[in-house]
């Protein structure tokens, strides 16, 4: 039977002793080195199935062992490590390892599956549910906050620009909104405001708050275009798109952050943007479709949608198309196409006088 020299610490004090190790039938026995011949009383005997390999998987460096019923004890074989490991594996082919790598891999992949489930819930399952559960009064309050916040943000950026206050113009846009909302049979009380900023844009916050930028009204050549944009935004509100997007953004952000920890902010933001972009383009398509339905139900002409997107394309040109993949709206060309297919007759949205009043909404 081969004897190996080793260093042994009993786990009770930080001292170490030189020992002889023998791989016997009952297990690994540790003897004081100089006791080898005579006195057979050993320091310890470790059953093979209780031995745990701490170090010794690579050729350089010592082999370190402990035993599961005395976890603080350490046995270190420094010399003839290959022969020692060979002898140990000969009697115990499956020596336990202190850090089996397979366990970490299995655990992290299991966590990945759980995280994927949570992510799916946050992405697909939670947002519509939350949008249905959140009371409409909350949505209205959130929408109010968003509308006010954006007004003050743009106000700071564009020297104090605020909401337009011309009463006659406001009455016209209120009337048009009311007509469309009634046609949509929507539960929200709509509030439309025109922000005095020269940008062709409009957005819906949750709970019936709609903001139209002055640039959009200025650039409109026909009231039907404004009606089409309003119908589109009403469709967003009615289908809780904004609330859903907020819940989705929050949920997915939480899951991504939880997975990547503190270090993955850039990556998290990137993935999150990509996902939400996809969703909001879907929402825009749905709002385009529902917007046309609303216009039709209100007895209005739908060509405004076509005309407006046509001009949006002329204004922004090809760069808008280049940026399209990342933009939240579907490519303009595509929207014109789907709106063109659905042109039909109907009433003009506003009379000539009303249109003049709306155009003057930002003049006092």
């Amino acid at each position: 039977m081969t004897v190996f020299a080793a260093r042994y610490s009993d786990g009770r004090s930080a001292s170490v002793q030189i020992v002889a190790v023998r791989l016997g039938p009952d297990g690994l026995s540790v003897y004081p080195a100089e006791n080898d011949g005579g006195n057979r009383s050993g320091l310890a005997t470790w059953p093979y199935d209780a031995i745990v390999l701490i170090d010794g998987r690579h050729k350089r460096g010592p082999v370190r062992l402990t035993v599961s019923d005395d976890e603080d004890a350490r046995l270190t074989v420094e010399f003839e490590t290959a022969a020692f490991l060979k002898a140990l594996y000969a009697v115990m082919p499956r020596v336990k390892k202190s850090h089996p790598i397979g366990r970490g891999i299995a655990a992290s992949f299991a966590a990945l599956i759980v995280a994927a489930g949570l992510f799916y819930a946050a992405l697909v399952w939670m947002p519509p549910l939350a949008a249905r559960v959140i009371p409409e009064s909350w949505e209205a309050r959130m929408g109010e906050q968003t509308a006010e916040g954006l007004a003050s943000l743009f106000g700071r950026l564009h020297d104090g620009a605020g909401y337009c206050t011309n009463a006659a113009g406001q009455a016209v846009i209120n009337g048009l909104t009311r007509t469309l909302a009634r046609a949509a049979d929507s539960p929200f009380a709509y509030r439309v405001r025109v922000l005095n900023i020269d940008m062709i844009n409009a957005f819906a916050a949750s709970g019936g708050h709609i903001v139209v930028f002055r640039g959009l009204i200025d650039s409109a050549e026909h009231p039907d275009e404004v009606a089409a944009v309003l119908a589109h935004e009403i469709a967003h509100v009615e289908e809780h798109h904004v609330t859903e997007a907020m819940v989705r953004a929050m949920g997915t952000q939480i899951v991504i952050n939880a997975m990547l920890g503190g270090g993955g902010d850039t990556l998290a933001g990137f993935g999150h943007n990509l996902i939400n972009t996809g969703y909001s383009r879907e929402a825009e398509r749905a709002a385009d479709k529902r917007g046309l339905e609303i216009l039709r139900a209100a007895g209005l002409r739908t060509h405004g949608m076509t005309r407006f997107f046509q001009r949006l394309k002329e204004a922004h040109g090809d760069t808008a198309a280049a940026l399209g993949i990342f933009s939240t709206h579907p490519p303009t060309e595509e929207r014109i196409r789907s709106a063109k297919e659905q042109i039909e007759d109907g009433n003009p949205a506003l009379s000539g006088g009303q249109w003049q009043a709306l155009k003057a909404i930002c003049t006092d």
Partner: protein
């Protein structure tokens, strides 16, 4: 390794009951790391972390620690890291609610204070949140240290840390502000107080570390480095770091063990410089790809007025890249991946390991010691991992 130990000569009259090793009077810490093995470990860890979308990181960190701890030797025996990846993972899960509340608070301040009540209240509350966050970072740092020490063993004897994380966090926060107010002059005071708190609460077995740090002594050394900090673009701090390390080592004691270090600033500087050069080399292909493919498109976009001149380039990057030819995309993606992968491996092999090697090998220990007097402690060890420290990405390796 073997040369550092000696077997007691058999002296019939006073022979001990066992063949206990009699330690030499003086010893150095030794480092046995191997760049090739560390590089393989780093690559495997990186691949598994990518495959699990980041979740393997707890186990990756554990394997790095097993490697580093296990390659530091003292008196013929290696240190040992006994922690497990699962502990870090569970610790992290426990702190997710804290992170969530903190994130939600930053979000809420924007919507419910900044916008309705204006910038004064908004920024005041953001500042308050930042202070809370910084406090939590101090708290987490101390907690993480407690965990790491409890999972550190030598000859089977465990290290430990006592003291209060909250107490440490308050000091941490206080010295942070003091440092800002004094333009960094208070750094030695902060170092001495925080290190003293941490080291005086550090145990090996049943023995507690003792320190003899004095802020004034460190300050007298520091003031010269501080004076030349700006003219040398902060370079003097590298030499100060070595000096500080030597000072702290010299004034630390454990039972009958006293320490000293010969760490040289020049050695640290060579490590930083070498790593810096590697970072530049790793970034060169990416820089070239951006210069050739991305930059001209950006310029064109801005000149055509399609995007505002002050547009955030980070937001434009993806749409611009997506509108490019496949060759350009491949060049960009390839160089980016090369950069990220090589950096995370270089950071281990050419930065962290050289630093650990330099620090370890610089340490001399005077061993007027019979190690039988250091006994295993009965103090319970924390059961879960570092938690918050991972969330704040503090735990390093």
């Amino acid at each position: 390794m073997a040369s550092e130990t000696m077997v007691a000569e058999p002296q019939p009259a006073e022979r001990p009951a066992t063949t206990r090793v009699v330690e030499p009077d003086e010893a150095r810490l030794s480092y046995h790391g191997h760049k090739g093995r560390l590089a393989i470990l780093a690559i495997v860890n990186l691949l598994l972390t990518i495959l699990t979308l980041g979740l393997y990181r707890f186990w990756a960190r554990t394997r790095f620690r097993i490697y580093f701890w296990g390659n530091i030797g003292f008196l013929g025996d290696r240190f040992e890291y006994t922690g497990r990846g699962l502990e870090l993972f569970l610790g992290f899960l426990m702190t997710l609610p804290v992170i969530f509340v903190l994130g939600a608070a930053f979000y809420a301040v924007q919507f419910f204070i900044l916008i309705p009540y204006g910038e004064l209240y908004g920024f005041a509350s953001l500042a308050a949140l930042a202070v809370i966050t910084y406090f939590l970072i101090g708290f987490a740092t101390y907690r993480a240290r407690r965990y790491r020490l409890s999972r550190t063993a030598w000859r089977g004897i465990r290290a430990a840390q006592t003291g209060s994380s909250i107490g440490y966090a308050f000091r941490w926060l206080g010295f942070f502000f003091l440092n800002i107010l004094t333009l960094g002059l208070a750094a030695p005071l902060a170092t001495v107080r925080l290190q003293r708190y941490a080291m005086n609460n550090t145990w090996f077995g049943d023995q507690q570390f003792e320190t003899n740090y004095a802020a004034w002594e460190l300050f007298r050394k520091y003031i010269w480095y501080w004076l030349f900090l700006l003219p040398t673009f902060g370079l003097t701090y590298v030499w100060y770091s070595a000096r500080k390390f030597r000072y702290l080592a010299r004034n630390t004691k454990l039972d009958q063990l006293t320490f000293s270090s010969r760490l040289k600033g020049g050695r640290l500087f060579r490590i930083f410089l070498g790593y810096g050069i590697l970072v530049v080399i790793a970034a060169a292909p990416l820089g070239a790809a951006i210069g050739v493919y991305v930059f001209p498109v950006f310029q064109e976009l801005k000149q055509s007025g399609a995007v505002p001149p002050d547009a955030d380039p980070a937001l434009l990057l993806l749409p611009v890249v997506l509108s490019m030819t496949p060759i350009a995309q491949a060049a960009l993606a390839g160089s980016f991946v090369l950069y990220v992968l090589s950096l995370s491996i270089f950071a281990m092999v050419f930065y962290l390991e050289p630093l650990i090697r330099a620090a370890t090998e610089s340490i001399h220990v005077a061993v007027a010691q019979d190690f039988v007097t250091i006994q295993q402690s009965a103090q319970p060890a924390p059961r879960r991992g570092e938690g918050l420290a991972d969330s704040f990405d503090l735990s390093g390796f």
